[in-house]
Amino acid sequence: MWRSLWTLVRRDVSLIVMRRQDILTVVAFFIIVTTLFPLAVGPEPEILRALAPGGVWVAAALASLISLDRLFADDWRDGTLEQIVLSHQPLPMVALGKIAAHWLSLGLPLVILSPLLGYSLGLRGFELVVLMGSLALGTPVLSLLGATGAALMLGVRAGGALMALLVLPLYIPVLIIGSGAVSEAMHQAGPYAHLSLLGAMLAIALPLVPLAVAGALRISLD
């Protein structure tokens, strides 16, 4: 079982890396949305600093949303999903493998890039560490929640806009707690309560979401 899971994760990562444009689109989107804030609200450092935690987090959530489009759609269209369902792997494990590959190739770059964008908006030192930590815990949760939406939207025409309506409300708690952690760090308070909450969300989503995704995938093939 582990060997097939490993095959799948490697296959998905190499497909995304081969296509390149997916990673570039998501990363460029993340950068552009963040740089829109100084353009819209003006260059005062104090205002930008106050906006920074929310700004980076909103940009990361939107970037995560647009990266979901092809999570299952390609495999669904070309029949790979049928073969996966027929192979003797437990479908929730397969779903988890695909989500892991998706996060590694499209979520992790956002985490790595975030200190740079945080810095450009005026965050410093420990705040940047907390920003990166909160995204490292939060973006996997976003990927997991988004995967449920992506699986449900398979075969639906104009699924993109509908997916935003379905998935963004689910992102709200993660967004509040994630940006809250950075705000706490800015006000000399400990961000650990928020980070623990993000960790708890991840711990709950990790075993439960794959079950939901597997159910949705089965329905999409029927």
Partner: protein
């Protein structure tokens, strides 16, 4: 070994087929025939357990096909319209992924042999996107050579294949049947080459 009882299915509120019974034993081929839209693909997908039926049951060795345990699922191989071949990968990489998904280790020599037999020698390292439709189909069919599954479910396997490839495939099916395999297939082309086909007419 493969048994169907009283299969019926509705798609989009319209009855597609009903009261289908058949029994396929080792060494037998079931040829599903019918006009476009009569439910051939749906029936084949139902035999694999992908599509839910309105009523009836498909069993393989007495076990419900939708509840097969993990080792029993390896008894079945399905090549459908959507051929699960990735454009970005080369035929060899495609086979490696397929083998990995089935939980087998990648055996490069066997994969190369299989690709040579389907007539893709010299194309192993070219991404499938640059290959023709027929070569793509051959890549998908080369999976049959690597599997030890007794039951083959093939949806329109002859589409896009040239005369020589059709002959090769019919020969392969013949060999599989002679070794006690089971084949369920559909095609719009005649399959005169094959002996004793059980024919199921859906229309």
């Amino acid at each position: 070994m493969l048994k169907a009882e009283g299969l019926s299915c509705r798609r989009g509120g319209r009855p597609l087929f009903s009261g289908i019974d058949f029994n396929v034993d080792p060494g037998q081929l079931l040829f599903v025939r019918g006009r476009n839209g009569c439910g051939k693909t749906t029936l084949l997908r139902a035999i694999c357990g992908l599509t839910a039926l309105e009523s009836g049951q498909v069993t393989l060795r007495g076990e419900d096909i939708r509840r097969l345990d993990e080792s029993a699922r390896a008894d079945l191989i399905y090549v459908g319209h959507r051929d699960a071949v990735k454009d970005e990968f080369t035929p060899l990489e495609n086979l490696a992924v397929q083998q990995g998904l089935r939980g087998e280790g990648f055996d490069e020599a066997r994969c190369l042999d299989a690709l040579e037999e389907v007539g893709l020698a010299g194309y192993e390292d070219i991404p499938v996107r640059y290959l023709s439709q027929g070569q793509r189909r051959r890549t998908a069919l080369s999976r049959l050579l690597l599997s030890s599954s007794p039951l083959w479910v093939l949806d329109e396997p002859l589409t896009a294949l040239d005369v020589r490839a059709v002959d090769w495939l019919l020969e392969l099916l013949e060999m599989h049947l002679a070794q006690g395999g089971l084949v369920v297939t559909t095609s719009h082309q005649p399959i005169d080459g094959l002996r004793e086909a059980n024919i199921l007419d859906l229309s």
